[in-house]
Amino acid sequence: MRVRFFARYAELVGRSEAAVSLSLPATVGDVVRRVREDFPGARALPERPLAAVNLKQVRLDARVQDGDEVALLPPIAGG
């Protein structure tokens, strides 16, 4: 699946997206763990970041499927 990083998280990881393969069933939390293992800069990410799947905020125990777009979101600071 495709994982996207934004704002400060993109700077920490050194990229704005990555392709991640996981054996299913898997959760968003599994995606976060895999990203933290695979990319050195990603170890600076929080263990429980805000996340979205397919443009909707979800909890870390939400299931992910092949083809999903998972996004790790820094604390929202808009307006």
Binding site: R4, F6, A7, R8, E11, A52, L55, K56, Q57, A71, L73, P74, P75, I76, A77, G78, G79
Partner: protein, 165 residues
């Protein structure tokens, strides 16, 4: 970051927000009260020489989330007409990063709907801001305007970065 301007129906813009256009979107003979909220880039006593804020977003999700948020507002205030624009890119101090127009038959609904939209934006619309300071440093700030990344110069814990609240 994308340089192209957003489509006509977008909630996002990289240009200064046109308040006339926003007000025209909500204007209606049935509405007797209109509220306009502007969030502007601030460099007040709590900031340390902010010259501008660079706004970035998860643009596809912003579009979807604004749609959900306005649908929620429409369910709460069915007679209200609401329009919103969030500006992205580098926004100088004093210019608006967000504008919300809410028109309703009576003023109470207009005030309430406008307040609801800005509070929900701050809670759920994926936008981030990085302060650009007069000393050349750049600092990501959290929802409360506090630094989330360490700038090259030391900051005391009491100092806050800033935009409007």
């Amino acid at each position: 970051m994308r340089n192209a301007e957003f489509s006509e129906m977008s909630y996002l813009t990289r240009s200064p927000i046109s308040l006339d256009a926003l007000l025209a979107e909500v204007s209606s003979p049935a509405c007797g009260g209109t509220c306009l909220f502007l969030g502007t880039v601030r460099d007040g006593p709590d900031e340390q020489g902010v010259t501008a804020i660079e706004y970035s977003a998860y643009e596809e999700m912003v579009q979807v989330e604004f749609g959900r948020l306005l649908a929620d507002a429409g369910a709460r205030w069915p007679e209200a007409r609401i329009a919103v624009r969030h500006r992205l890119g580098t926004i100088p101090v004093g210019e608006a990063s967000i504008a919300i127009a809410a028109a309703a038959p009576h003023r109470a609904q207009a005030f309430e709907a406008c307040r609801y939209v800005i509070e929900e934006v701050k809670r759920r619309v994926p936008v981030w801001k990085k302060e650009l300071r007069v000393d050349g440093t750049e600092v990501w700030v959290d929802p409360h305007g506090r630094p989330t990344s360490s700038p090259p110069v030391p900051l005391s814990a009491s100092q806050r970065g800033g935009t409007h609240d």
